[in-house]
Amino acid sequence: MEEQFQEDWLEARLHEESPYIDDGGFTAQLVQKLPPRRAAGGSFRGAILLCVTLLACVVTYLVSGGGRFLVSAVNDLAAMPLWILYVVAIFCGVVVTAVAASVAYFQARAETLG
């Protein structure tokens, strides 16, 4: 009985001890520290980037004589010794793995912040 009373009393006191803290300008001060809002024209910026990329692709295609560079690059690759191809493949694999691992690490870190 005494034990239960003590338990109830402690429970009640623990809840009593968290009074509401008045904002007192806390929110206003914080909002001033927030980074500026993203520009409304985010999609417009995306469209510009897309157009510029497409234009660059067309120009490259025309300048390179209708994509002949691709054919010649493939021919060059085919003519290369096999060991060089292995080295290039391993190097590419290492670079891609390193990039993927670092992206995963930073993403996981950002999530665990929350």
């Binding site: 001890e17 968290s18 904002d23 806390f26 927030l34 929350g114």
Partner: protein, 178 residues
């Protein structure tokens, strides 16, 4: 009808709406500042600095809030991480609580005026028990939610709450008898 946390978060995500985020801050500032005041042993200035840091981080990383837990739980976790990082910088983490506990349990150093003060008794608890008590008893989080906030196993949270409560009861009973 007032907007829910989920609605406000959606507005922040879609429109980067500062007003919506301010509303979220207003809704949760008391709980977060309260928790940090307890964790920092009533250092109001430090607690408010950490609370500001908590909300700024929340704003910065709001895209990582997936809505699996309550927004308040997510905020508690950020707040606890902010506190932990700051404590690490100040080299005041965990271990110091034990020495403080021993030092302050000495009847000669105990402030008689604070004998019946539960807050004082809470501050004598080691950090892991104090955090668990504050989250589960004062802030109403479930053991599971507290485990997520503190990033410790569920069983450990339950043990810490039980041990903390027992210590509180003993301390308060001893003070009451004095």
């Amino acid at each position: 009808m007032p907007l829910t946390d989920a609605d406000l978060v959606a507005r922040v995500l879609v429109d980067d709406d500062h007003h919506a985020f301010a509303e979220l801050v207003r809704n949760h500032q008391s709980a977060i500042r309260g928790l940090l005041r307890q964790l920092t042993r009533s250092d109001l200035a430090l607690a408010d600095d950490l609370a500001q840091e908590t909300f700024l981080r929340a704003y910065k990383h709001i895209r990582s809030f997936r809505g699996e837990a309550k927004f308040s739980t997510w905020l508690y976790r950020i707040a606890y991480n902010c506190f932990r990082e700051d404590a690490r910088k100040r080299k005041e983490l965990v271990g110091i609580d034990e020495t403080l506990l021993e030092a302050q349990e000495d009847p000669q150093t105990t402030d008689l005026a604070l004998k019946h003060d539960l807050m004082h008794a809470l501050q004598l608890l080691p950090l892991h028990e104090r955090s668990a008590i504050l989250l589960c008893c004062q802030n109403g989080l479930s053991h599971d939610e507290a485990a997520r906030v503190l990033e410790i196993p569920l069983g450990t949270v339950k043990t810490n709450v039980l041990r903390g409560r027992e210590k509180l009861k003993k301390t308060l009973a001893a003070w009451g008898a004095a």
